[in-house]
């Protein structure tokens, strides 16, 4: 029976259009710069010398990262979803926690541990180069695969497994022929997230000596001042990222379509005992040790044995400030986009989808775009100001905190749309209708029905972005105001001076600040009805 929207509902086209603009404008600016910017010899030089290496590293690093993250994340998800063993309930969210560890921090720690003079030096190969970087991304980013695959395995894919067993398949055959194919879209979506994060990284690949396109872009901009050429590299990067993004979206759509709609009771988990249980615990603990605990321990040890940098607290304050503001703003933009999607109006939905593209834009590209955009605006303001009052416009737009937050939104607001969308999905149209027929007007309905139902989803959105911004490095490096240190920038600067002792403290502090919200996020996602909320 036809159910259309009740009359006079809050119309979200404008906030969604604003969100779309914030997310899309920097990208458009980069594109314009790439097309219309001046051509220099640098680009020719680059193509002849380092570009092939950048591309090769990018391909190798992302391939290793995705392959390994899949090998870790998917079986882990199957184990946690289908088997019962001591500690399973804790491991369910614990194995997602390496997301609190920035890849560059893990890279510092693992390189330090395995280099010639490190404690593991000589026992294991040194973690370095494209292979090392791929491994680092795999152990810090596999939770994306785990979270999405776990949901699939716990859902319809489990039914298919049971059906296959009743049709005479062995456990192995049922897994390979029924459960895995149904979970494949979810796994592919998780892998796409791993690849996009790896593409966007700067700190880890620089430290491990595997410069990817991201690094090339920043070198072109910072080292050579060739902004337009940087923009051209950015377009290659964005092209690759969008390709992956398209894969992720189409896979996720398939995953959603195959998700069962009716009530389903979770099938009973197979209880593991004795050596099998011990093996399961080991399998769950190992990735957490590799991705979180060991790097934290190494960073902690190095931080304790080095003098604390005097600006640590200031950097921490700046990081907290940026992450909090960005999280709050992203939650608002995410909600606006979610309302737009819910309204079902063509233009609103288009705007919200456009905003969702932001996640495929690496931080360095977003920063470059904001730079170009604000440079343009600054030019106009200066000209106008000179015309009206003489002198230049008193405030510098680029290199301001505002520019930074703009760039963060352009990259991360998309991450807030997913949680906001699934929170809003709880507010069905009939709840609105029920509230209205019980005498509550639109405003009262928003306050008494929407607010309580979406507030925790909005908090999830805000915290996801909080953690991401806390870890973010390249955009912060490019756009931060002069003498404005954040924990990420401070760690990176010390690390590139080979002063790992000083780099360890800010890197560790990032993890320590990110961990409590990450624990909340992981517990909520795994404990709740759906892991889909991590839709980025």
């Amino acid at each position: 029976m036809a159910v259309s929207a009740p009359t006079r509902r809050f119309d979200p086209v404008w906030p969604a259009a604003f969100a779309a603009l914030v997310c899309a404008a920097p990208l458009l600016a980069v594109a314009a710069l790439a097309v219309f910017g001046p051509w220099t010899d640098y680009m020719v030089h680059l193509v002849q010398t380092r570009l092939p290496a950048y591309l090769g590293h990018t391909a190798l690093v992302t391939a290793i990262a995705a392959g390994l993250a899949g090998v870790i994340g998917a079986p882990l998800a199957w184990l946690v979803a289908r088997y019962a063993f001591p500690g399973r309930g804790v491991f369910e969210w614990l194995v997602a926690l390496p997301l609190a560890m920035p890849a560059y921090a893990a890279a510092y720690a693992w390189y330090d541990l395995t280099q010639g003079f490190g404690p593991l030096g000589g026992y294991v190969p040194t973690v370095r180069g494209p292979v090392g970087a791929g491994i680092i991304f795999a152990v810090t980013l596999y939770p994306y695969v785990y979270l999405l695959a776990r949901e699939a395995f716990a859902g319809q894919s489990a039914d298919a497994y049971d059906a296959a067993r009743t049709l005479g398949e062995s456990p192995r055959g049922a897994f390979l022929r029924a459960a895995l194919p149904l979970a494949r879209p979810a796994i592919a979506a998780g892998l796409a997230l791993v690849v996009m994060e790896s593409l966007a990284d700067y700190g880890a690949v620089v430290h491990l000596g595997a410069p990817t396109l991201s690094v090339g872009l920043i070198r072109a901009w910072a080292g050579e001042g060739a902004t337009a050429d940087a923009a051209r590299l950015a377009m290659i990067l964005v092209g690759i990222a969008f390709l992956i993004f398209a894969v992720e979206r189409s896979q996720r759509r398939r995953a959603r379509q195959s998700a069962s709609s009716g009530k389903r009771r979770p099938s009973r988990r197979v209880t593991l005992t004795g050596p099998a249980a011990a093996l399961a615990i080991l399998a769950c603990a190992t990735p957490v040790l590799l991705g979180l605990v060991i790097p934290m321990g190494r960073l902690g040890a190095r931080a304790l044995n080095a003098p604390l940098a005097s600006d640590l607290m200031e950097a921490a304050g700046n990081s907290l400030f940026l992450a909090s503001i960005s999280g709050a703003v992203a939650a608002v933009l995410g909600l606006a986009a979610a309302y737009a999607l819910r309204s079902g109006r063509k233009r609103a939905v288009f705007a919200a989808r456009l905003a969702g593209l932001g996640y495929a834009v690496p931080g360095s590209v977003a920063a470059l775009g904001v730079l170009a955009l604000f440079g343009l605006a600054q030019g106009w303001l200066d000209a106008g100001w000179t015309f009206a009052f003489g002198g230049v416009f008193p405030a510098l737009l680029t290199g301001s905190v505002f520019a930074l937050i703009f760039a963060y939104q352009s990259r991360f607001a998309a991450a807030a749309i997913g949680p906001a969308e699934s929170a809003l999905a709880r507010v069905t149209p009939t709840l609105d209708a029920a509230s209205r027929t019980l005498g509550a007007g639109p405003g009262e309905t928003a306050w008494r029905v929407h607010r309580p139902l979406i507030s925790s989803g909005a908090l999830l959105a805000a915290l996801l972005v909080f953690v991401e911004v806390l870890k973010e490095l390249p955009a912060t490096m490019i756009l931060r105001p002069f003498n404005f240190e954040t924990l990420a920038v401070s760690a990176h600067n010390y690390a590139s001076d080979e002063r790992l002792g000083q780099a360890a403290a800010p890197a560790l502090l990032i993890v320590l600040i990110a961990l409590p919200p990450m624990i909340w996020i992981a517990r909520r996602i795994t404990g709740g009805r759906t892991g889909r909320e991590i839709t980025k």
């Binding site: 009740p6 069905t428 209708a433 509230s435 209205r436 007007g441």
Partner: protein, 352 residues
């Protein structure tokens, strides 16, 4: 309030049209009158526009044309559209639409206004009492069974003392036995509320059991509205007849004020002689007697036990099959020869 005064309070739907897409409107010129203190069932097949009409009355859809008035006051139409929150029109939704973040008590108290928190609580508790769920006041919707959810939704809609009550397939999600018992409680609560009540359903048995009057809806229009037994016995068209149950349709031509069927004749003085008509006969109107009695000769093709009666399929000499009913105690079996006779009380003559 005197019953007479109550009967004057009406909700009138006048040629209502609601159009979602170009083409045939979902509601296509529906006329309907609801009376306070009485329950009207809106019966029709899926997609006939029942729920849309309900939503239009509640103010959740705008009318494209036509009008909805309550006690002469215009609710919808002529450019007027009262917001749903101002109509005092309670709705029990098909999915109940309980607020998941509120307890049973919180849900029931949602629409109560203009009093202190304690008074609201008390009023809501009293309301819960009437649906025998006071002991579940602190439970959240997901902790309630389907039947409990339905009763909470009913209590919630009734709590603000609405003038009009709308129930959209209120029993559709419940199992059969629960449905029967809930029907009684629901009907009692609704009659006690003195609201003008509309219950949307596609279940004829439910409509007959619950309602003081039944409106039949098909393709966006109300095709007949009347008392349940009248509708059952004297349907105005084949469509109306089929909505309420099984019916045999015989084509006939009026001769000397009567319509002849193979199993007997019906008086039909309102038609001119020679008019082509259809005679609609309920299975109860097909009398089954021993082969030595009067009537049309037929063989029993099959006999099936149903709830409370035996369903017989009989084949006339012409080959035509006719459904009839017999007592379960009756020893008639397939293969027996019988005579069929028409009882005019269960027959209705309609123009083709």
């Amino acid at each position: 309030m005197k019953p007479g005064a109550l009967n004057d309070r009406r909700l009138a739907v006048d040629r209502a049209v609601v159009r979602f897409t170009p083409g045939r409107p979902a509601v296509d010129g529906a006329d309907l009158t609801l009376t306070c203190g009485r329950i009207t069932a809106l019966l029709g097949p899926s997609g006939s526009g029942k729920s849309t009409l309900l939503r239009a009355i509640a103010g959740l859809e705008k009318l494209d044309s036509g009008a909805v008035r309550f006690e002469g006051r215009l609710w919808s139409g002529d450019g007027v559209h009262l917001q749903p929150e101002t109509r005092r029109c309670g709705v029990v939704f098909q999915d109940y639409a309980l607020f998941p973040h509120l307890t049973a008590l919180g849900n029931v108290a949602f629409g109560l206004r203009g009093s202190t928190r304690a008074q609201k609580r008390e009023a809501a508790l009293a309301r819960l009492e009437t649906v025998e769920l006071a002991h579940r006041a602190g439970a959240y919707p997901h902790e309630l069974s389907g039947g409990e959810q339905q009763r909470i939704a009913l209590a919630r809609a009734l709590a603000p003392g609405p003038d009009v009550m709308m129930l959209d397939e209120p029993f559709s999600g419940l199992d059969r036995r629960l449905r029967a018992s809930l029907r009684e409680t629901t009907a009692d609560a609704l009659r006690a509320s003195e609201a003008a009540t509309l219950i949307v359903t596609h279940d004829a048995e439910e409509a007959l059991a619950l309602a003081d009057s039944i409106a039949l809806m098909n393709e966006g229009r109300i095709i007949q509205h009347g008392a349940p037994d009248q509708l059952y016995l004297k349907p105005a068209s084949v469509e109306a007849a089929r909505l309420l149950g099984a019916v045999e349709v015989f084509d006939a031509r009026i001769a000397t004020g009567r319509a002849d069927t193979p199993i007997g004749a019906v008086e039909a003085h309102s038609f001119e002689n020679g008019t082509l008509v259809q005679v609609l006969v309920r299975p109860e109107g097909v009398g089954v007697a021993r082969a030595d009695a009067e009537g049309a000769l037929a063989d029993i093709v099959s006999r099936r036990a149903a709830a409370g009666y035996a369903k017989l399929i009989c084949r006339l000499e012409s080959g035509r099959e006719v459904e009839a009913r017999a007592s379960l105690a009756d020893p008639l079996r397939a293969g027996d020869a019988v005579r069929l006779a028409l009882d005019p009380h269960f027959a209705s003559v309609v123009a083709v």
